[in-house]
């Protein structure tokens, strides 16, 4: 069954390249997504048995992130249909678009030929597959291979719009992430070195084995290993100051890809760090990791605050907000206690909310043909539903009740205070406030007011339903945390040394 979860995306990906008919390929996209979703949903009922000699197994953490991934992918797949239809239309009426966007510097946005649909859909599936492997892998080496593979699978997606900026974004993404991942590889080796003393030559980098005998490992090497893994996977996760690729990639890729990058990929990298922390906790070095995580976390929030304030590009805004939230996750894990639980819960909330926001941003982009904040006005008059979702998403992402983000952020704060990290808690809260102000300034300016023409434009339901569903889920998590999810969260938190 686990194998099925892994293989479905790869097979459908290959199929996507073979299929000629556009309609069939699109059907395949949604179908494959649904199958994967169904399989993962089934995994909640009966936890799948480990596969490939225990290399692949779903523990709570893996299941959690896998579920987020597949959920977002399904939403993105449905959204992608409307996106593809739209971009077709975009080319047929490109003249009209020029006239529309002749005002702003981004006029050339839609005038590039996009990559062939097969590439998009195929790579989407490979992306999903590699991420599934990341979530399921119980072997550090395999984990590394999979994470690097996600980079390679997603690079073409970022370069979907074939124009200069997206090319630049893809290049930076590829280069920076590859370097980061390379460092993570060194981290893996260092862990292996740490095992040497224990006659562990024969010991593969298998989680269970590592955790079992972690106590014996040489601690300096473990520490070094963690630092390398943190920097390596942290680059991918988007912790400042390693986040540099993130705003470019997110702003230049198609919206549903941005949604997946921000909502799913970053989590997978986070999972890499969590695995490392698992080992160090087992070795009794949990304390050592906390300082690092908190430090990078706060730094990330500060960086995000700096660039969110007066941000001129709303997709970059969302990207920096992802940096902020990755920082929050790091802090949550760093402070430990219920903070860990809060962090994992926040990972769920953030992924849903951010994916929703990126999809909505896609709708805005489709109408206004520009990512420039100053050019988007009177959203609530032009696209009422989208505007409502946009504002709801804004309040959700800034942690206002009754959304799930509020409870998770509050839980992290409680964790910080409970563990005696008063100053961390206060700094965290201050940065949250700062970012709220900065984001409010930008987002409200877009939603309110009047633009030159105020008649409301059509909003295809395919482009509305996915974000709406995601938003509804966040709302639901804010007022009701299902038992099953709570159990998984608790289990995962226990795994990585929280509680």
């Amino acid at each position: 069954m686990l194998l099925a979860i892994i293989l479905t995306p790869f097979i459908s990906g290959i199929a996507a390249f073979l299929i000629r008919a556009t309609g069939a390929r699109r059907a395949l996209l949604v179908g494959g997504a649904l199958v994967h979703f169904a399989l993962v949903a089934a995994a909640w009922v009966v936890r799948p048995a480990p596969a490939v000699g225990g290399w692949l197994a779903l523990d709570e953490a893996g299941l959690l992130f896998l579920s987020i991934t597949t959920l977002l992918f399904t939403a993105a797949a449905v959204y992608a249909i409307s996106f593809l239809k739209r971009s077709e239309r975009g080319h047929s009426h490109s003249s009209l678009i020029i006239h529309h966007s002749s005002l702003n510097e981004e006029a050339d946005d839609e005038l590039f030929t996009n990559a062939p649909e097969a590439v998009l859909i195929g790579c989407l599936f490979f992306f999903l597959g590699t991420m599934s492997v990341v979530c399921a892998s119980q072997h550090l080496g395999l984990l590394w291979v999979a994470v690097e593979a996600t980079t390679l699978a997603s690079a073409p997606l970022i370069y979907f719009h074939r124009h200069a900026r997206s090319l630049e974004a893809a290049w930076k993404y590829l280069l920076i992430c590859s370097i980061g991942i390379a460092l993570a590889l060194l981290g893996n080796f260092l862990i292996a070195v740490a095992t040497l003393g224990t006659g562990g030559h024969e010991m593969p980098l298998h989680m269970n084995a590592l955790i079992a005998s972690a106590k014996l490992f040489s601690q300096p090497w473990l520490k070094a290993a963690f630092i390398f893994l943190l920097v390596g996977y942290g680059t991918k996760m988007g912790l400042a100051p390693l986040h540099t690729w993130l705003p470019d990639a997110h702003s230049e890729s198609p919206s549903m890809v941005s949604a997946l990058l921000s909502g799913a990929l970053l989590n997978c990298a986070f999972l890499g760090i969590l695995r490392a922390r698992q080992i160090l906790c087992a070795a009794g070095l949990g304390e050592f990791t906390n300082g690092l995580l908190i430090g990078l976390g706060l730094l990330s929030m500060a960086f995000a605050a700096v660039f969110i304030l007066a941000q001129a590009d709303y997709k970059r805004l969302l990207a920096y907000s992802s940096v902020e939230h990755m920082g929050i996750l790091a802090i949550g894990v760093g402070v430990g206690g219920i903070g860990t639980f809060g962090a994992l819960f926040h990972a769920v909330n953030h992924s849903l909310t951010k994916a929703m926001l990126f999809l909505v941003a896609g709708n805005i982009l489709a109408l206004y043909q520009t990512k420039s904040v100053t050019a988007v006005r009177g959203l609530s008059r032009r696209l009422p539903v989208t505007a409502a979702l946009w504002l709801a998403g804004f309040f959700a992402i800034t942690g206002a009740p009754p959304f799930g983000t509020f409870t998770s952020e509050l839980t992290i704060l409680r964790g910080a205070f409970a563990q005696g990290n008063m100053l961390v808690g206060i700094a965290y809260l201050a940065l949250l406030g700062l970012i709220f102000v900065a984001m409010a300034t930008v987002v409200l300016r877009m939603a309110q007011g009047t633009s030159e023409h105020n008649e409301s434009a059509p909003e295809p339901w395919l482009s509305i339903v996915p974000p709406a569903v995601l938003g509804a889920l966040v709302l639901m998590l804010g007022v009701y945390l299902p038992k099953a999810l709570a159990d998984v969260l608790n289990g995962a938190a226990r795994l990585i040394g929280g509680m």
Binding site: A224, I227, L309, A310, T411, A486
Partner: protein
Amino acid sequence: MSLIIAAILVFAAAGLAALPLRRSPKNASLVGACGAVIGAVLGIGGACGILFSGAAEQIRLNWAVPGGSFYCEADAISAFFLLPVLGLVALAAVYGVGYLHGRERSLAGHWFFYNVLAASMALVIIARNGVLFISAWEVMSVASFFLVTIDDEHERVRRAGWTYLVATHLGTAFLFVMFVMLGNASGSMDFDKFSAPAGTAGILFVLALIGFGTKAGLVPLHVWLPEAHPAAPSHVSAVMSGVMIKTGIYGIVRMLVVLGAPAPWWGGVLVAMGIASGILGVMFALAQHDLKRLLAYHSVENIGIITMGLGLGVLGRATNSPAIAALGFAGALLHTINHAVFKGLLFLGAGSVQHAAHTLDIERLGGLMKRMPLTGLTFLIAAAAICGLPPLNGFASEFLVYMSSLSAVSGSHAGAAVGAIAALALIGGLAAACFTKAFGIVFLGEPRTESGAGAHDPSLSMRVPMVTLAALCVVIGATAPLIVSAMAPVLEPLCGTRAGVDAALIQTTISMAWVVIGGFILVAVAIALALYRRRLLRSREVGETGTWDCGYARPTARMQYSASSFAQPITDFFQSVLRTRKHINRPKGLFPAGASLKTHTDDTFTEGIWRPIFCGFGRMFARLHWLQAGSVHLYILYIAITLIVLLIWKLA
């Protein structure tokens, strides 16, 4: 209790029901307003039940949210605060139907958020769990934000909304810390488990004061009020200024109960902030020409009076003299209700003026008394009441505060008491100045521009709430002794003793009874004199002529005293605080073509404290943008540096 919960559910249901009615504003108004009224009636029923029975009711359900539990309790205090909140919500909703009538833009959102606001306010007042409380609190802020920004096509409104949202959100952050500290100390977010860990009570109090003070509008945290209230539609301003900011007062009161025996300096701080808010609020009010902005500043002033009362109460509690405590708290709580009544009425009146004259610029109005007599009458009553003039309700509550400070004068904290009395006296005088200006210039004399000329009293649905509130001003004033004597159960948890409270109340009730008697004498004598005058004049000729203008032949409306000139001596006197800017165009030459005087008074705190801070952040961050300079080399360098720094930090 069940009734109150039912009320909240009705609000929620009505809000959701109004949401889909985007096409027809009329039905949306109907649904929304009906829901608000029905819910309010239910809730008031429940609250009254609790006040009469005196028994607190509670429900405690599990809530599948970390740290959360659905734990609500309606005790006397909650019930007491619910009354004005729900009452004004209902009346303002009725008013809103008429006020919003004829707008072509969808009202679905408006009525949705209006009912959400109502529900969340009620929930805030009965919530007894930290997470539940903050959730309700934030929902309240967000809902009111959307209500404020309904006319978001105006830049002014957008700025106001932003200011409000930012202020309230940052204020809430302090509440986060407070609740988290309490929760971690007691291991539960439920209020009844709360106990201030040793030595932190003071910190918690300060956090509560800042967090709730921002919502209540205490100087210098008041900056959002004068922006938000004028921007919102009038019935929303009425609700926000009348009752929503009172949830801040409620929060402080609730925390005083939770934190238990206070330290004397808390009282001192409260009194000091109260005095500052009261005096500065009324000063700034005097300098305004926008009617609603003026009223907003008066909310700051009245919150100041309430806070003074609370402070005296705390002082009394801290020095265990129940008389001071009981009177102080009684004054504060009663003034909460009174202010809800007359400030709500004033905002509704301002709304009617705007509706009729299409401007709120006092300088452009005038002579509305003849054109909209009912609005004028109700506004006059409210104005007299807010100035604390007997025999109306405003005097009753201020009298209580006076009495509290009078009994404190002979105590150990006489300084605070004397300060409070002096401040109250000064506030009273300035408030009188301000409202003679507001009422006199707007409603009396002749119209200064044609905008006021065509005005007329508003539709029935707008008149009914105004009349009701005006009647309440009189009735509460006349029945104040009864009300106060019935307040003992509300005051007991605050003062910590029942016997002392009863004793103090009995004492004061006698005085207040005398006040009422005085009021009746006043009315009787006035009527008698009026009748006497009529009898005298019946047989004689009563002439009609133009106003005597000291021999000037052709007085015109533009020669009337204007609001600015009326307030000018006082604003000049306080110039050092107000920093009023004047744009004078003096008459020149022998035959001056024209002359003009414009004055504008910004909020000294916005300009002096908050704007510099925010701009400072902006500049600082703008200077850091090179960090993301776009060069991939730089980015790779970051990775290397981070790696090395971390290695050195952790391993070397």
